[in-house]
């Protein structure tokens, strides 16, 4: 980063902390002494307790406006727009501004030794301590208002499973400071973890070809490398993913909800709504028109929303993290620690497969909400996505092995049988229409089942294993061998009769388990044994071809 020198001595802590004797400064001082001075092992400068930028004081009241609006209007109405009512409303505004000011003044954050402390001493003093070695990712987002003032929101992901409780949020840092803090946190968190002899396990996995991956472990100056800048033309692929297709309906629903909520304030009652509904109902052409317009709006609105969210998508490597940045209005930047990435997932729906485009996610240990945070690429052409995945994480070139023909029968049966059953039951009960509908579903189940079978596959290339399944959304996961924490082999009674089974690789990242569905009995167990021979070999039968533990 170029702004580093300027950011280390920012003006705002001096203005803030000189006035208020800060309790956390006391604590921080103690921590600082034990660590022996300002120079930390990670090479970062010891940071005194700092506050958020005072500019948030300008943002917060604006953000509170919507929630304040109704009460304020209410006060004005009740007071009959008398002078005193304006005074009360003004008091309300002043009070809320004062509240944000006090909140701002009493909140500090500080990096001490190996932890980040967020201190809030509004009424009671609360300190949230986040050990640096638990930090798994740092998000920097810039919502529109923040961007106006050059601020950012920093979210610290600790991978704790207890919802958002354990995570830290710093809302309103100057952008350079936010970037600097992210670098500090990620670099220090890595340094904290590298103190013990973890390097062996980290380096022991298979690293992709490029040298920097191995070299970056020490706190080298932050190097940057842009992997991808997604050209805007590719945003046109967005609607194929089906993302935001329901946006028009959601907008309409939101509008109706708002109309009801606000309407009552302006004397619109339910009666009016009901008569409006009846009026519309008697004009079916209008209804149909509205429906058609909504349907037409689906891909357009979906595409627009998609473009807004994925505008100027860039994926770069900064130091030891992968940073994905995207968004037109709210610029969102997610940093994933490279050390924690265990693989990737490639997904494509039916339409996307037609256009040969895919989406790409990283599989990261302890990353909550991995489907939004772990996104590495929006919808892009397949060959491009595989290239990026190979470059940023690691290549996987092995051919997927198909599953036995019995698996096809099972996929077909499972796609067709529900429709047939419902159809039979409905005809028996004399509901012809539902029966017909179910029959149509059953017929559609044939191509679906066949496609599901075609999707099935698994492979291992010596460093990574891969499984693929699904149809309407099809997804292929590629996971490093060292990320596997165990195996579960499942066989239902029906699978037993078809002599197939499902092998699930337990992975402490992403969705937790990646399944090779309906492999042959021999094939599935051999697959697990191929990936982790030393775990499985003692339990295999058939001594002739028990894989010897050559690898590892």
């Amino acid at each position: 980063m170029t702004e580093d020198s300027g950011a280390s001595d920012r003006p705002e802590p001096s203005t803030g902390s000189s006035g208020v004797p800060d309790p956390s400064g006391f604590l921080g001082g103690a921590g600082g002494h034990t660590s022996g001075g300002p120079q930390q092992p990670g090479g970062a400068v010891w940071v005194p307790p700092s506050r958020l930028s005072p500019l948030v004081l300008l943002i917060d009241p604006v953000r509170m406006l919507p929630s304040l609006f109704l009460p304020l209007v209410g006060v004005l109405f009740v007071g009959g727009f008398s002078p005193s009512s304006f005074v009360w409303a003004a008091l309300g505004i002043v009070g809320s501004v004062g509240y944000t000011a006090v909140r701002w003044a009493t909140f500090t954050y500080q990096v001490i030794d190996d932890r980040l402390e967020l201190t809030r001493s509004l009424v009671s003093r609360s300190v949230r301590t986040i050990p640096l070695d638990r930090i798994r990712g740092v998000d920097v987002t810039t919502p529109p208002l923040h961007r106006l003032f050059g601020l950012a929101v920093v979210r610290i992901d600790t991978g704790a499973s207890g919802g958002g409780k354990q995570e830290g949020e710093l809302d309103g840092l100057p952008l350079p400071e936010a970037d600097r803090l992210r670098e500090t946190l990620l670099r220090r968190s890595e340094a904290a973890r590298h103190d013990p002899a973890h390097i062996a396990t980290v380096g022991g996995g298979s690293r992709p070809e490029h040298g920097p991956a191995a070299a970056h472990t020490s706190a080298a100056p932050v190097e940057e490398r842009v992997y991808v800048r997604v050209p805007w033309q590719w945003l046109l692929y967005g609607p194929l993913s089906g993302a935001f297709l329901l946006a028009p309906f959601a907008l309409l629903g939101g509008a109706v909800g708002l109309a009801f909520q606000w309407g009552s304030q302006f004397g619109l009652s339910e009666k009016v709504a009901i008569t409006a509904g009846e009026w519309l109902w008697q004009r079916p052409i209008l209804l149909i028109l509205v429906g058609i317009m909504l349907l037409l709006a689906m891909p357009v609105a979906g595409g627009v929303m998609y473009a807004v969210f994925n505008w100027n998508f860039t994926l770069r490597r900064r130091g030891s993290s992968l940073v994905a940045e995207r968004g037109l209005i709210t610029r969102r930047s997610v940093a994933l620690e490279h050390r924690r990435i265990r693989g990737y997932e490639i997904a494509d729906g039916v339409l996307e497969r037609r256009a040969h485009v895919v989406r790409l996610w990283a599989i990261v240990t302890g990353l909550g909400d991995s489907r939004t945070r772990g996104q590495l690429l929006p919808v892009t052409p397949r060959h491009f996505a595989t290239k990026v995945a190979a470059e940023a994480i690691g290549p996987f070139e092995a051919q997927l092995r198909p599953h036995p023909a019995r698996a096809r029968q099972r996929r077909l049966f499972r796609a067709v049988a529900p429709g047939i059953t419902v159809a039979a039951a409905s005809f028996l009960l004399g509901w012809a229409w539902i029966g017909l509908l179910a029959l149509v579903m059953a017929v559609l189940g044939v191509p679906l089942g066949l496609d599901r079978y075609r999707s099935l596959g698994h492979a291992y290339d010596g460093a990574r294993l891969s499984v693929r399944s699904g149809s309407l959304p099809r997804s292929q996961a590629v996971v490093e061998r060292r990320a596997v924490v165990g195996w579960t082999v499942r066989q239902t009674w029906f699978q037993r009769r078809s002599r197939v089974l499902t092998v699930i690789a337990g992975v402490g990242a992403g969705s937790g388990g990646y399944a090779a569905i309906d492999t042959g009995e021999e094939q599935g167990v051999r697959f697990a044994a191929e990936v982790t021979p030393d775990w499985m070999a003692p339990f295999l039968t058939g001594t002739d071809n028990a894989p010897s533990a050559t690898r590892n």
């Binding site: 499942r490 337990g506 402490g508 339990f539």
Partner: protein, 171 residues
């Protein structure tokens, strides 16, 4: 021919059959009771859309369910006893469970995060215990039910001790 996996070395405790039998009996009573409730509800409702050949014989529902289910109350515990097995060797926990459907779990001790020994009140009555082995993934986690309490305590302790020695934080 089944999956090319040998049987794990140890059976669970014989008293586990009693445990499973009780559980199955309890489930059986719930199911039959529930279906009887449904039957009485449909009989009393007088819905016109239900065909008469159903509503006239609705009381067959709990009877049929009871007759079909009853053998399984006995079969399930015995079948489970035949399937449920476990083994710890080469620093890998290997366990098999299930009856109608079955499942094999392989958990290397080096990836274990927590080991719990649990006892429900009925398990305690029978002197049984469950060992729960957790890793960072649900698919690498396993619980071995129906162990003799002493065996379970020893296994849990061994695993915890060994896991501590082998701790591998690659995940």
């Amino acid at each position: 021919m089944t999956a090319p996996l040998r049987d794990p070395a140890h059976r669970v405790s014989r008293r586990a059959i009693t445990l499973w039998l009780t559980e199955a009996l309890f489930g059986f009573l719930l199911l039959v009771g529930g279906s009887a409730l449904v039957a009485s509800w449909i009989a009393a409702s007088g819905w016109s859309w239900v065909p008469t050949w159903i509503s006239d014989h609705i009381w067959w529902l709990p009877v049929v369910i009871a007759v079909v289910e009853l053998p399984f109350v006995v079969i399930e515990p015995l079948w489970r006893y035949a399937v449920h097995r476990w083994e710890l060797s080469g620093d890998v926990v290997y366990a098999r469970s299930g009856w109608f459907s079955r499942q094999w779990v392989f958990v290397p001790v080096s990836r274990i995060q927590t080991v719990d020994k649990e006892q429900g009140w009925f398990e305690r009555l029978l002197g049984l215990a469950t060992v729960e082995i957790r890793t960072a993934s649900y698919a690498g986690s396993s619980s071995i039910k129906g162990l003799d309490a002493g065996v379970a305590a020893r296994l849990a302790e061994d695993l915890a001790h060994r896991a501590h020695q082998l701790r591998d934080d690659a995940t």
